[in-house]
Amino acid sequence: MAPMKLYGAVLSWNVTRCATALEEAGSDYEIVPINFATAEHKSPEHLVRNPFGQVPALQDGDLYVFESRAICKYAARKNKPELLREGNLEESAMVDVWMEVEANQYTSVLNPILFQVLISPMLGGTTDQKVVDENLEKLKKVLEVYEARLTKSKYLAGDFLSLADLNHVSVTLCLLATPYASVLDAYPHVKAWWSSLMERPSVQKVAAMMKPSA
C-alpha cells in the first residue's frame, strides 16, 4: 500500500496541522511540496486534488481530501479513531465542540497575528502592529476561557487526548516563533497543557519540520 501524500509546504500552519494529526495517528504518509512561485497550486494536476487551488491536499490511493481539518479527521478515523471518540455520544460531542473552538475562536484570532508577524515581511510587506495588538487582546480573552476549561480537565475534550488538542499544535508552534509567545504565561493551566503536548513525539517531530535546519 503506497503511503498517503500530503501536498503543501511545512511553512503553512494548515499543512502542519495535518502533519500533526498524521504523525499522532501513526499514518504512513509523505509530504510533497507544492511550488507556489511557479503557480503549481493552480496547475491542472493540483486542482484535481484541491479544486480551490490551495494547500493542503491529501491523496490516499484514488481518494483526494482537502481542507486541513477534514484531512486531520480522515487521518484520525483511518489510523487512530480514539482521537475522535465517535462511538461515544457525549465524548465525541466534546471533541467536536473544542475542534470548532479551535477554528472559530482560537485560530481565527491567531491567523492575523501570524500573518502580520511571520508572513507579511517574507512577502516584502510590513507588519501592521494595530492588527497584531487588536488580535492579541482578543486572544487573551479566548485564553481566559481555555484556562477555565483546562482547570477542570487535563485535555480540552475531557481527560483524554483528542484531535481537538492536536489541531491547536501547528498555530501554537508558530506563536512561539513570534515575539508574543509570553502571552501564554498568564495562563498556567494552558501552559501546562501545552507542555504536555510538546512532550509527545508527534509534536516534537512537527516542531522539527517547521524549523529551518540550523
Binding site: 479544486p51 480551490f52 478515523r77 483511518k78 465542540v97 470548532e100
Partner: protein, 216 residues
C-alpha cells in the same frame, strides 16, 4: 434569526427531534450573564442543553443531534460516519461551506439585508462587488462538483448540504439572488434543498423573524 441557530434547527427538523427554542435577550445583555456563560463560555449563541449535556458551537451541536437520532430513519445518515470515504466527503464540503462559501456569500447578506435593517446603514457596494467576485469563483467549483453528484458529498443529502441553508436562504432575499441562475447545477441543488420539509418550515420562521426586525 441567527444563521448559526438556524443551522442547528435544520438538523433538529431533519431528524424529527423534540425541542424548544429559548430566546436569549441580547438587548438586555443576557448572552453575557453568568447563566448563559455556563452554557457558552464565549457568551455567544447558540448553546444547547439535552439533560446533563450542555454544548456550544453550532456545528458541534448539530452533529450531536444527528448522531443521537441516527436510527431515526431515512434522514438519519447525514454524517456517514460508518464509511471512511463518504465521511471524508461530508467533512470536506462542511469545511468548504465554512471557509470558502460563507466568507464569500455572507458579506452580501450583511451589506444588503442585515446592516440596513439593524443599524440603518447604507449598503457598502464595494464590499458587495468584491464578495460577488469571490462568490462567482466559489460557485464555479460548486457547479463542477454538482455536475458530477446530486449533492455535495455524494448522491444523497448530507450535513454538508444542510449547512448551506441559512445564509443562502437570506442571500436569495437580496437583489443578487439571480447570480445562481448562471450556475444551473447549483441552482437545481438549491431548489432540491428548499423543497425539503425541514427547510420549508424553517424558511417560513426565518422570513417571519426578518419581517419582525424590519418593522421594529
Amino acid at each position: 434569526m441567527s444563521t448559526n441557530v438556524a443551522r442547528v434547527l435544520v438538523c433538529l427538523e431533519e431528524v424529527g427531534a423534540e425541542y424548544e427554542v429559548v430566546n436569549i435577550d441580547f438587548q438586555a445583555k443576557e448572552h453575557k450573564s453568568a447563566e448563559h456563560l455556563a452554557r457558552n463560555p464565549f457568551g455567544q449563541i447558540p448553546a444547547f442543553q439535552d439533560g446533563d449535556v450542555v454544548l456550544f458551537e453550532s456545528r458541534a451541536i448539530s452533529k450531536y443531534i444527528i448522531r443521537k437520532y441516527k436510527s431515526a430513519g431515512e434522514a438519519a445518515d447525514l454524517l456517514r460516519e460508518g464509511d471512511l470515504r463518504e465521511a471524508a466527503m461530508v467533512d470536506v464540503w462542511t469545511e468548504v461551506e465554512a471557509h470558502q462559501y460563507n466568507p464569500a456569500l455572507s458579506p452580501v447578506v450583511y451589506e444588503c439585508l442585515i446592516y440596513p435593517a439593524m443599524r440603518g446603514v447604507p449598503t457598502n457596494q464595494k464590499v458587495v462587488d468584491e464578495s460577488l467576485e469571490k462568490l462567482r469563483k466559489v460557485l464555479d467549483v460548486y457547479e463542477a462538483r454538482l455536475s458530477k453528484h446530486t449533492y455535495l458529498a455524494g448522491d444523497s443529502v448530507s450535513f454538508a448540504d444542510l449547512n448551506h441553508f441559512p445564509f443562502t436562504f437570506y442571500f436569495m432575499a437580496t437583489p443578487h439572488a439571480s447570480l445562481f441562475d448562471s450556475y444551473p447545477h447549483v441552482k437545481a441543488w438549491w431548489e432540491r434543498l428548499v423543497a425539503r420539509p425541514s427547510m420549508k418550515k424553517l424558511g417560513a420562521t426565518m422570513a417571519a423573524a426578518a419581517a419582525g426586525i424590519k418593522q421594529a
